[in-house]
Amino acid sequence: MRFSAQILIFCIVSFLAGACYEDPDCIDLRNDYVGFTFKKLFDRQADTVGVLGITTSGTDSVFYEFLNVGGSIQVPLNVTASSQSFIFNLLTGTYSMMVDYKSQPQFESVDCGPRIVITDLNVSQHNFDSIQITNNVAVTAKGGSNIDIYRCPITNNFKLAFRQLLADTVANGTALIENLHNVRLDYQPFLYHFNAKASSVVVPLNLASTTTNVLIDSKDSGLSSLDIRYQFETASIFEVCGNQNFIKNIEVAGTTNYDFIKVQKDSITDPPTTNVTLFKCPQTNLIEFQLAGAPAQGLLIKKVTASYTSEVFYQDSLTTKLVLPLNENQPQTNYTIEFEGATKQISIGYERTSQTFHGQCVQTLFSTVKVLSSDFTTPPVTKNDSIQFPTVVNFEITND
């Protein structure tokens, strides 16, 4: 009896203590979002899509307005409904989708409030090329995906790259970032890459023709007009996409301020790979003067002129250095530098040799560069007696 009574008391105390654990932990997440992932049918990898806006039934809100979307996006679901329509305004067109689901509240505790559990997500209608449901339980605003949206291959995305070659043997040099005004196509009224800085551009070739003219307007390199010629091959790679015209045998001609053009790949791929590259040869004639004692914001230069050209450099400019072209046809170049309140002359002498880089760039190389004469009070200091590209400081000059 005594033993039994002790066990009874122990168990009653345990019961009262255990009552504290009745309420579950609050789950502080709203799982009432549907996640979409844009993908390419071609490689089933995530696609980057230009989204103008996504709207959905039951609200005037616009989601992901004017955004480039790569990876997954999440849009809220109406927890009081059992289906919801979505309108996707994308750069490539307008698409719709109807998503059905089962929404059930789950009572957690009086402190937590109800949690909404959305399951059985399903797509009952859409006009995308293809979709796949990967998870039928709604996700949170923080991430997750339910529906993969696939698109058919884009067969006319032509990629053009800009490259700067160096005075070395490294093929293709380095990416050249162009300050573009825009890129225009002869068959469309749109401006592409407007006021963009880019080392490559992608533009759609005309699928209704076997030629497209691409006009590149660059702040740095002026106007370049490229005539792209190509042929079509019709094929059905994916059943859902039907027959598509694939571009092959790309050829290019035109007038540019670049040194040469090279076709890298003569067919279009998705995602795009570089089809044509515009190369600039290394500039091996640029001498660099460091302005000693110049303030950080630069010294005011009225203008710089050279003895062999009428071109004016650095007109009314604040700068800490002067990078000027040498005369490739003479063993010396004379510069006149107008500072504020003083004009100085400097004469540079050098030896010249010729060398071909990358099979296309016949360059004059300058060595044994020296100051022949100058009227600077402080004599120019030689830092490097050979011209290099990218430039290095050759002389340090002081305006005193």
Binding site: M1, S4, I7, S14, N78, Q104, P105, F107, P114
Partner: protein, 207 residues
């Protein structure tokens, strides 16, 4: 020959007698009754009965369970009946009073209704006030039990039953996700524990 046949017959009678019930106990759960005045969120009762077959006890339990939760933004309530059937094995065979320390198994089944009202804040689709109900819900579960039955005075018995409840089947036909199953507890828990502190009156049927 006759002697040996008689011995076998007597042994069979002894075994038959051993499994004859000696009494039926009727009881109630004191904790359920005690919770009624102590908690404004619970109302319920539970009665039980068992009958012995040697060291085995066939057990039936039946109860009612009403719970409610209330806050400014939401309220929840349920109301349902449940029963459990099963058997216990008494491990104290040599106790002259037939006091019990037992282990056992149960199958529990509950039929119940639930009601949930709530307000939901939604910045996109607007705030909502909803009333959802689950009617005619049914759930079943299994239990492992352990406990004591102690003779206090004459035919008055007292005891407790601790039960590990497990694997509830969740009815998904309702308008919201089942929260609390009468007789089991929180539906979100795959295992749950319970405790009864019981008072019995035994009606002997033979010595």
């Amino acid at each position: 020959m006759l002697c040996s046949l008689g011995a076998v017959a007597q042994k069979a009678d002894t075994i038959k007698n051993k499994y004859m019930p000696t009494g039926i106990r009727f009881g109630t759960d004191l904790i359920a009754l005690a919770k009624i005045p102590l908690s404004d969120q619970f109302d319920g009762w539970e009665v039980s009965a068992d009958v012995d077959f040697y060291k085995y006890y066939f057990t039936v339990e039946y109860g009612n369970w009403q719970k409610s939760r209330l806050s400014a933004d939401q309220s929840y309530s349920n109301d349902g009946n449940y029963f459990r059937v099963g058997a216990d094995v008494n491990l104290l065979l040599k106790d002259p009073d037939k006091n019990m320390f037992f282990v056992g198994l149960r199958y529990g089944r509950s039929s119940f209704d639930e009601l949930l009202t709530y307000n939901l804040t939604d910045a996109v689709f607007g705030d909502v006030a909803e009333v959802r109900s689950n009617t005619g819900m049914v759930s079943g579960w299994g239990e492992v039990t352990v406990g004591l039955r102690v003779k206090l005075w004459k035919e008055l018995w007292m005891g407790y039953t601790a039960r590990l409840k497990m694997s509830p089947s969740i009815d998904e036909s309702g308008e919201f996700i089942v929260y609390d199953i009468p007789g089991y507890g929180l539906a979100s828990k795959r295992t749950y524990w319970g405790f009864n502190y019981q008072l019995y009156w035994r009606i002997p049927v033979r010595n």
